[in-house]
Symmetry: C2
Subunit: 788 residues, 2 copies
Amino acid sequence: MSDNAPPDQNQDHESLTIPLLSHERSLNSTSQVAIVGANVCPIESFDYEIAENDFFKQDWRTRAKIQIFQYIFMKWLLCFLIGAIVSLVGFCNNLAVENIAGIKFVVTSNMMLARRYGMAFLVFSLSNLVLTLFAAIITAFISPAAAGSGIPEVKAYLNGVDAPGIFSLRTLIVKIVGSISAVSSSLLVGKAGPMVHTGACIASLLGQGGSRRYGLTWKWLCFFKNDRDRRDLVTCGSAAGIAAAFRAPVGGVLFALEEMASWWRSALLWRAFFTTAVVAIILRALIDICLSGKCGLFGKGGLIMFDAYSANVSYHLADVPPVLVLGVIGGILGSLYNSLLDKVLRVYNLINEKSVVYKIFLACSISIFTSCLLFGLPWLASCQPCPLDASEACPTIGRSGNYKKFQCPPGYYNDLASLIFNTNDDAIRNLFSKNTDSEFQKSTMIIFFVTCFFLSIVSYGIVAPAGLFVPVIVTGASYGRFIGMLLGSHTNLNQGLYAVLGAASFLGGSMRMTVSLCVIILELTNNLLLLPLIMMVLLISKTVADAFNGNIYDLIMKAKGFPYLETHAEPYMRQLTVGDVVSGPLQLFHGIEKVGNIVHILKTTRHHGFPVVDEPPHSESPILYGLILRAHLIALLKKRVFLCTPVQIGVDAFRHFSAEDFAKKGLGNVDKIEDIELSDEEKEMFLDLHPFTNASPYTVVETMSLAKALVLFRQVGLRHLLVIPKISNRAPVVGILTRHDFMPEHILAEGNQTGESHCTLSSCIFHLPYELQGGKVRMIQPLQILVR
Amino acid sequence: MSDNAPPDQNQDHESLTIPLLSHERSLNSTSQVAIVGANVCPIESFDYEIAENDFFKQDWRTRAKIQIFQYIFMKWLLCFLIGAIVSLVGFCNNLAVENIAGIKFVVTSNMMLARRYGMAFLVFSLSNLVLTLFAAIITAFISPAAAGSGIPEVKAYLNGVDAPGIFSLRTLIVKIVGSISAVSSSLLVGKAGPMVHTGACIASLLGQGGSRRYGLTWKWLCFFKNDRDRRDLVTCGSAAGIAAAFRAPVGGVLFALEEMASWWRSALLWRAFFTTAVVAIILRALIDICLSGKCGLFGKGGLIMFDAYSANVSYHLADVPPVLVLGVIGGILGSLYNSLLDKVLRVYNLINEKSVVYKIFLACSISIFTSCLLFGLPWLASCQPCPLDASEACPTIGRSGNYKKFQCPPGYYNDLASLIFNTNDDAIRNLFSKNTDSEFQKSTMIIFFVTCFFLSIVSYGIVAPAGLFVPVIVTGASYGRFIGMLLGSHTNLNQGLYAVLGAASFLGGSMRMTVSLCVIILELTNNLLLLPLIMMVLLISKTVADAFNGNIYDLIMKAKGFPYLETHAEPYMRQLTVGDVVSGPLQLFHGIEKVGNIVHILKTTRHHGFPVVDEPPHSESPILYGLILRAHLIALLKKRVFLCTPVQIGVDAFRHFSAEDFAKKGLGNVDKIEDIELSDEEKEMFLDLHPFTNASPYTVVETMSLAKALVLFRQVGLRHLLVIPKISNRAPVVGILTRHDFMPEHILAEGNQTGESHCTLSSCIFHLPYELQGGKVRMIQPLQILVR
């Protein structure tokens, strides 16, 4: 970028490359050194580490057996509740969409039958506009966090990143209502992503006992006082979301395991399995009720499962090459899709950040554009005569079915309208249907594929809940079926199967999951004999696409600026020691500290953890006692139990406090240091921090490589990692590593800022050969060995 | 136990409660303090930690890009090879079993047709005996490690425990051949467990480049020089084993994930998925060939999949209560099965350890007993008239089919013989079959269930490869079908479905898996609509059974004495600090150490890791430099590059060594200190250990709770964890924690041995309230708080 460019243009260009979220808040660029969520942006890390202080130990010892049983029981009860509520929400969501969109299509179709085409377009586009507008307005004004799919946010949360407001009650309500109206408005958006966010939201709200902001809390539910338990519940919630969206209980568990969760234990696998089993059983019962026709337009065509393939499939070696080609195409298209979507999101961000009016205007334009396409394109297709052996009425009477009449004369149907002038679920069902090999024309398929591909890219970024699964499945199924049509009689597989494999390849190319996508597709189509082919397609499309870029959710997460911690260490991390990246003025507390000092440091820094050091005369030499959390310090200050002289009080301290005081109650609404007013007299008093300090924090030695420290930090799920010196006669602690210190942006900034001064004896191969390219650190020149 | 009992009886009683493996080796009881595999028993831990010494860093830096690509390529290539070989082995296994057992049944059936019953029994029982004898002899004489299912061994391996000989070439061959002959000999043993062991074995051999014992190694395969890469390959191998045994590729991945693996990353998920996809595709192709009848008796009835349910299933709320009952029964029977099997194994161990002849004699008696039962019991059943609307010939002509003639007159069939005088696969297929609701009598089902239940328990422990999956499925299916028969017309589900649900409940009750069993059953029966019911059954049976005892593989693993490291910390671990359990005389090395000292310490201790401490005059005060491995010390001694004076040599040391010298090449055959002969002159020289010492080992402070240290030890996968003192003016290292220090047996022994002396300020609530019961630490009396 040249320096002569006008500043505005400069900024615009920049905003296409830097993270979206940090761009919105100018503060974020000031310092990358700070702890996540400290002086920079409102993102915080979670505390998964056991804070092993004397107070906690004492509390743990006094816990009765009944409390432990209660705890286990509550965990299972909450999983049951999550499953039950998510399945109800998923059911209502489908019911509402099928009825709202269904009435819209019935009304317009009736007008078309009466040849009142202008009126039909007006009703169609106006109802779409109103629905989109409603979704956009509630999202923009009530809860902007509900926009988009929500999967990146949940994924970041499960990695330990607390983005503000993603799990509030209003986000939940906006997500549910907004998703229903957005999907009903014929926008090419899905409902699976929003269902995952909804599930996670329900789990989080249940886990913290309700919405504390609105005082809607239940005492008996306020049981989980730490981030670990809530993380487990949210994992189960996201599994339940996919289970409800696709009626795929096993797929849901695997999705949560493969894509969402950063930490996983087999106990959690079992609980997630229980949750999705509840979803599956309740959904099964609810659909049984609807089969008898009590749910309006739902129930006839509106079953969630595309139960297309109960017949036997036979395929042979000759069918393998086209399937391989499909995989390659899926990989290329999928990575193209991801990169275009990323670009469009960044352009949209320029519009969205101007003002709320722009946001809503953008949503409305997309809605009008979509309506025009959906209503206009079918006129391009020629009418087809109805087949004589059609298994259903032709042209279709009522709402769903393979043969839409649209503008055609009686006895003819419009094949493009069957796909495009329909709900997405019905379009998928038509594409997947077997024994309909001559139903669609090739030109229809191409038009439909191009429309879906680009429409889904431009529709995702608007200010409304919008999933990606269904658009990706529709798009993939369309080119899959097109390839099946091209092959014609050269293949044993029918075109419906090619549509399924196409959907699999595009899902694999865009979302890059393996086992979970495989199981979700199997559960959607109910045919296990396809398994080897689907596995092959997924493997190839993922491999091809991985050569170009990352998975779509990771790209969105990066664009939003979430500091996601990867499991694997980048190669350059092996060349750096933790001593190279740890920096900043370190704020320490003494074991017995003046209240005024504590208040001052808490007010002037935004760190969330502070080392506690005992110095002479309280110990022979300076020793590291442990780590104390900001939240615990604030709890101490709030109680105002101060000492007049600097002496250790030990266990006496406990009687003033209950475990409740130190519990982390939920998201948001934490006490702030600014809210605590202390008199000058109190500020001259002392606090004994020992009983409340985590006396056994995890530590690493400063010469450890960053890669090895990352293993500890990521596997154990830490928020703060203390760095201790190699040589014992220095200060007992060198610094604190936090999530940000493992981010490539921070490491490079650090390198450029401090030059060679950080070099230690063992690692002096820094700065020179690396640069930041698209969020990844790459080598500029061959690595040279510079051991001094 | 009274002290007056005669010593022999005493010992017998003891051997029913203590681990089998340690019982065999009297050495094992001497010390629990040692590092795993040190002076105690031949079990070793693996090194998964990155040994970050200067030499390693130097080697890593000089690694070219091409080597990294080669590494990645080799990983995928090996996964492909594993998949290909395992699927071939699985296919051959099935082919051989179907043909050997098939010929046996055809010959006996023909004799029965000619009413030569005595001769038939003789041929039947003799062929069974010969096959069993063959399996027992090769197992006992060539590779005793091949006995049993092998799943516990593989599970322990993946947890980091190296049992001797489990992955050698001879174990592989004995496992494959022995499994074929044991299954063909009509013993009630399965082939899935041996397939998992086979898959793991193939993966391990490929990972170390062949069998080093027999010199069958390929240079280009010898690529993986560390335990981590081999662990990943073995995980993929065990997934491939299940995939090949049940033709369940997704189930295989999930089985490896849920039951086998202790460490898991999404990259590994993807590679395991690739491996099982290869298995699925190759098996599909091989079975295609067999369908045209080129594989002898295989291919007609011998498909691996019980493809019983392609038809639609409908069920309603009324069907739920019997399914719940089934789940509860499965849980109770499953836990009973586990505890009986454990008891029988311990009794068998008393016989087996006497001598090899006893072992083989036991196997032969079981074979004869089985033959008598299988041939004798059908005579108890009355002959049934053939149904008029039977979908297949009645009585069955040839080998497989629902209606066995046995001793019955023409037009009649023996329903018990259809189940019992048949291969296990065919029995399962008959039990799962639909539209055969009147085929079996209730008494037949009860006889069959009781026979299977007890026969499978007594058959598992013999000295031959023997799996548990198939016996458990047969047994579960039999009582499931019995309950379906009891309900008769009160249910919408047919009896075949009840058999499937019964098998699910017994699997859940015995093996305690959830998602993987669910997917395996779905892939076996090819019907996704059953999913909610199967999930329900599995959840209930696992919950019920977990109230009684542990999963069958864990029980066997415990009986074999493998020090398996659990993920979760037991409650009492929170009450102990690492300082309480760490003990033993600590062996240190100095940064520059006399060769004689090194040889002496290596010879007199059996530790595998030693702290290296720099002391004045080489540093100002004693500081912990790092940790050096025994294997690396031996490599140093072998090279004989010693120093005449105690000075640091730094990077000069590297030119004498290549990475090859320090690579861990594979299982077994490690260099021993006893093999290195040094002259007295050499022993007076010095070695600079600094460049070869892992300078950044993970450390914990002595006041950390054992629970918290376990999190680090287990999550990161350590072998040695250094404990450092809280106060800096003491020795720089307190001790080393190893796997054994986290075992309940060791902790309690430690507590009783040292009394209260271990108490530190923060944790003095030890010893009193706990005791060891059945391998678990339990509270004797309510916990008292004893804070001093």
